[in-house]
Symmetry: C2
Subunit: 411 residues, 2 copies
């Protein structure tokens, strides 16, 4: 597939995340006004709430709700319809062009808000390299993968109330800490605060009961970049026997743009070959991952940005469709706006690891930054940024940045 050209020149630039092929959905605010549904196109945002109000789009009281949940709830036929209508409005010079131009807002002027209301948030553990790295650190490479890992897309429920949009500062958490040699736990600021580079799948279709694997992908509306901030020291002490809890509850940042499954369609790639055959309910009938290049960068306070890692969503062992299918296997109802984190995405090399825990190997091999400083975990004032894009022929379908700055712990 190649670039779909727009009369809006900035949408045709080869380095924009937002060509007409993309059309990702977000919520923007101008000068502190309430959030409005918008679509990124080149260097601008198309105020689709205004277009709906003006009767230019075939929707009513949906895009004016300040969140994309109501639109998602309309279902796949509506998803296709809006994409077609927007493509026509922005590619052809029609009689509506003046109206459309009047609804364009420069991206540089807005503040982005949460693109959707997160119903519930689930986080998975489904990149094999990540699971192997973490398991190796704690149990040695022979016992790295838990016995269920090759059978189950392992997941746990996270906390929806802690999901924030890119640009929101994150406060270093406090919690119970106990090192392996400490006699007793103490309460204090986390000293091993980390990121997790993930992709989040946004569920667009509500369901009751188990979802068949052949249906699962169609229930996913789109994807966001996702940084699952993690306090490794709180996690190490709390997580047995019921899993991570407060170590994961401080914040999870997402990109302001939902890139739709429709926009990612040309970039489908298969899940990797299975070492052990999956049970039938998890067997996919087509390629369900995407070729999306991902990176993590760090900017120390007052310093310059530096990329720490580059990886790809195709490194996943389980797809979002498989995760959704497993999530509902025992009857769990899903709702519009459920968010499924892929799990940390790590590639096979040191330079493709998706967390500082892996990059610094638990702090034993600190990462060297430009200017001679090092990092094992995040320091106060550091800004962490995720980026991601699928690369087409002369264009890219990108997510924009997912960024957050770490503030010191409460005094």
């Amino acid at each position: 597939m190649s670039l779909i050209t727009s009369w809006l020149e900035s949408a045709n630039a080869p380095d924009t995340d937002f060509p007409l092929n993309n059309l990702p959905y977000g919520v923007f605010s101008l000068g502190g006004a309430p959030g409005r549904c918008g679509v990124a196109i080149g260097d601008s945002i198309l105020d689709v709430a205004a277009l709906e109000e003006a009767g230019v789009l075939s929707f009513q009281r949906t895009l004016t709700t300040g969140t994309w949940n109501a639109f998602m709830a309309l279902g796949p036929a509506a998803w296709s319809a809006l994409r077609s209508e927007l493509t026509a409005l922005l590619s052809e010079t029609t009689e509506t062009r003046a109206q459309v131009e009047a609804a364009l807002v420069p991206m540089a002027q807005v503040r982005m808000q949460m693109p959707f209301r997160v119903s519930e948030y689930t986080d998975f553990y489904a990149s094999r390299n990540h699971a192997f790295n973490v398991g190796s650190m704690f149990r040695g490479p022979e016992n790295a993968l838990p016995p269920n890992w090759l059978h189950i897309p392992i997941g746990y429920n996270g906390r929806a109330s802690s999901v924030v949009v890119s640009g929101t500062d994150v406060r270093r958490p406090t919690g119970q800490l106990k090192g392996p040699d400490d006699d007793a736990p103490r309460f204090g600021p986390s000293q091993r605060f980390d990121i997790e580079l993930e992709l989040g799948a946004v569920v667009g279709t509500a369901s009751e009961g188990p979802i068949d694997i052949r249906q699962a992908a169609a229930n996913i509306f789109g994807y966001v970049l996702l940084n699952d901030w993690s306090a490794r020291d709180i996690q190490a002490w709390e997580y047995q026997p019921l899993g991570p809890f407060q170590s994961k509850a401080t914040a999870t940042s997402i990109s302001p743009w939902i890139v739709t499954a429709a926009a990612l369609e040309p970039f489908r790639v298969p899940t990797p070959e299975r070492e052990i055959e999956l049970l039938d309910y998890l067997k996919e009938d087509g390629p369900s991952l995407y070729d999306i290049a991902l990176e993590v960068a760090i900017t120390p306070e007052g310093g310059t940005e530096q990329v720490l890692s580059r990886t790809n969503y195709r490194e996943m062992y389980y797809s979002a469709a498989q995760q959704l299918c497993h999530h509902t296997a025992s009857g769990c109802p899903m709702r519009v706006g459920d968010l499924l984190g892929s799990g940390t995405i790590s590639g096979p090399d040191r330079e493709s690891r998706g967390s500082l825990l892996e990059l610094s190997w638990g702090g034993k091999e600190p990462i060297e930054l430009d200017g001679g400083t090092t990092r094992s975990f995040i320091e106060d004032g550091d800004t962490l940024t995720l980026r991601g894009a699928a690369e087409g022929n002369g264009y890219r379908v990108g997510f924009g940045a997912c960024t957050g700055k770490l503030l010191p712990a409460r005094g």
Copy 2:
């Protein structure tokens, strides 16, 4: 404290769960109409939505929303005000009596709905006898309690979408199963489906950042009975390393009535003496448990009801206030309608265990039922019922029943 008498005679009966001292909040439906906020009193429900509409109460557009969330969001001053107004309307024979009588609906005629919209659901593991019993079965009595148990009110995030009101049938779940001697997992119906007798705390006050232990109790609006249906065989295979997931996602049933913290105030009792001193952030400055007698009963299909276990909420090691405090320690925002399950409540004796797993000791000591049948876990067609009440001087503050029938797995 003694009975507050009402002009409604059924509210003065010594065996009613709903004297004037109680005034629990629920949502009822008459003849399939949309749900309405109501208050249980004796054998009736007071249609407080109708009283609000009639201007008898000092609230507007709050009790007519079909859920108690909007009322909870008004905060503690409003909580006290409504309780005072209802107490006056039902205890004194005022000029409004005819209006109040007209708003009474016989409880036998209604169908109860969810009393509130669950924002997020967290389940804890905070009864020492339960943790000891389960730990003994899996690791032996010497290693029964995990090393963090006496320091942390251990919890994990559950699934709000799976919370249902009493009376909702529950479908036996399917999932991945692997016995200790099986070579590989298989997919099928759970064979070890269980209940967990719990009390759920309903968060009534939203918060950002850590909640001080001295504030935590005041943020809890009230309590419900809670049955955390659990598939033990799915859990055994899935829960390492990130905790229970699909084993807990089938359903969690709650009582239709929220008994307010105000109604339970006379029944406060302290948490037990600590074997190990708690960290300061978890130290309570007053009694924060309640003396609430609890029981579990089973009714086989076509059979008669039989009590399996009797226990008490005072058996908890950690209170809901301590759980809420810990829940927010690393910065987790809480919202109105968050639900915190206490964790299975087991007493010290065999007859006071809060799950079939414990009652049948993992299936090794099946429970004998009247009529010569036995149970290790729940069988299709069984109805499980939780009941609970605090016993006052000549009156009881009860929750009504929390019941659910197990349907066979999907065909």
